[in-house]
Symmetry: none
Subunit: 216 residues, 4 copies
């Protein structure tokens, strides 16, 4: 374990600043969160992208959202085959143990994972086709949706469209989990599809009646 290094000093300094200010202001709350356990109201599935900050967009503080972040905010289909399924484990824990009331899938503009999927589907990214490509194999989850956007000529519009499809694919796959479907059917869990525009700060939600994304 000789390869592990101490924390860079600029992060040490920032941490000490947090300890002296934010932690100090909220100590009583953090202590209660530690002793009382978490009771998050919602789970959020968003992208790892450094430009997506779901807590700041919603003014959420420690204890409010249980957050899973992966490439392109994707949920794979239900596959209880005994293998390691990291995303499925987060959903199982949130729905069955924490009993969150809301589950939001948050897509975003300029998503690198979604762009990789487009490149792959267009035959421009042979390296992503390799069996060894974890990103390629992960984006296979979204692949069947490419047909829905294949005819869009403008590259940017096509990417925006597939980003929204990634949200819908995840919502669909969520319902393939028996414990998700059961909680939704009982009115104990609500699913929401969202998409945010990084540059313009826009936020859209999927409207089930109009069957499209609308600005909030």
């Amino acid at each position: 374990m000789q390869f592990a290094k101490p924390l860079p000093s600029y992060l040490v300094h920032r941490y000490q600043g947090w300890k002296a200010t934010t932690y100090s202001e909220n100590q009583s709350w953090y202590r209660r969160l530690a002793s009382d356990g978490q009771h998050p109201r919602a789970m959020v599935i968003s992208c790892c992208d450094s430009r997506v900050h779901v807590t700041s967009i919603f003014g959420a503080d420690q204890g409010e959202f249980f957050i899973h972040r992966n490439i392109a905010n994707l949920v794979p289909p239900y596959e209880p085959d005994g293998d390691h399924h990291g995303t499925s484990a987060t959903i199982e824990y949130a729905v069955t143990a924490l009993k969150v009331a809301h589950l939001m899938v948050l897509g975003h503009s300029q998503c690198g994972g979604v762009q990789g999927c487009i490149d792959m589907c267009k035959g421009h990214a042979p390296e992503l086709e390799a069996k060894e490509s974890f990103v390629g194999r992960w984006m296979d989850i979204l692949r069947p949706k490419y047909d829905l956007v294949a005819d869009i000529e403008d590259a940017q519009q096509q990417a925006r469209a597939l980003e929204r499809q990634s949200v819908l694919a995840s919502l669909s796959n969520l319902m393939s989990f028996p414990f998700v479907k059961d909680a939704v059917d009982k009115g104990e869990l609500t699913l929401h599809g969202l998409w945010t525009d990084i540059g313009e700060g826009g936020l859209e939600y999927y409207d089930p009646k109009l069957e499209k994304f609308l600005p909030v």
Copy 2:
């Protein structure tokens, strides 16, 4: 997709507040992030737990950290078998496409996933042994480390010890990825092991010389 619902109005209000204040103050930066792409300095792998806020601890703003969050901040071993591997995909993308300079694994106190692993190893959680248990199969990644803490009698100390082992297990497994080892060997990537105490706001890092976690 009739099950998808619009955003609850309290979140709409909070979002509108963010748009009118934080977004407005940072519009030029967010626009540049959108047009110029992300260039995060570090990747962080932390837990989904709603009480862990890696960006606030490190005073990090949009664009700084590429963040993957899963149950118990675990990295599975390298397994390029063509299946969906969400965590491995995030690491591949961060290291090979974004070329992050730092990769931090952040464990934390009161981790429900780690506690579940202890319960499972002690035979107290038969439901987690089921093949269908995604949480159980995910925590199998940590299972071999239980032997190292099995003799600790105090339940809290045992949990704290296994939480730190979850960080070390992830660091070990990271080095099983050829592109991670390669980048570390070339001095292009540094790995860091961290653990935070939710109630007291403490932060510890793994010191490779003393082979233990020390307060920052």
Copy 3:
């Protein structure tokens, strides 16, 4: 006064969001409320419980309801003994100074105060019997009503029944205030008994003819 701390920053952010949106939209109304004084149509007496939001249930905006919230929405009997009587002061101010036309007492399901009263009456909560227990002494107001529900075997039904009795006890006690009785007799004030189910969003009102609570 060194123990007083500044506002946690997450609340500062949320406040700034409110200022930039809701306040901005309603500025002219808030300014008039400030210069012209309040003219609320109704007073509401409800519980402090964080799950009871009387303004949202009734779509009420700033200026509509004069609201007193205490444990279990209780009104003590008229006792002009020169001591501090916080609840009685709110009623006096609402009826004689503001001349509200309606006074609603709103009970609710899962009321912790009512449950405490049941525990106390069953002899399961000796700590609430202590002279020093403010909650115990406050719930003494409801105590005489326990006899009416003592025979109900199902614990949940018993609690629901005593919650409704807390509304009726308050209505009775309200009429012991000479200025309340006088205003009611003159047709200048109407009293209403209400009970809401938190989980199902139900609302019931007390029907004086049938002498029971009915769904709205």
Copy 4:
């Protein structure tokens, strides 16, 4: 109980609107709040005044704040004499049973209760001096602070000053409750003094270092 009347139909209509929209959007959350109990992060003590909306100012939704509202947001001194003390009961329940991490006292501009106290102290309100005046006896809690503002000539400035003193008086009295002082000393509870300007939407907090109220 023949004096109790059914709910006015305009409120029935509004309730039905809430049921069809807000309740419907949040049903899963409200059901969880009902089954899982409340875990509010903070208690707020504010005025009954219809113009003060603490939840909207802070973008707070059901489940977040345990709220006590009385005339002029006053806390009486600790007096465990076996009588009914409604305000003291709310504090005891919030601190010892719910273990809230924050307790905010929120004063406001144009406070009728504070104005009554000034009138009384100036000898302009003999009716408030009567033993039978609940409002007068309640405002006795604030009375000793009048000396601190007696010399301010401008009537509005004097009222603003006494409104802020009402917050400080409550904070002081809060510390006379052994269970409040104990929780503060242990770092499990933080007290905050706030004052809001109704017309301008301003918010000020008490700064313990500068010993005065500052804009947020």
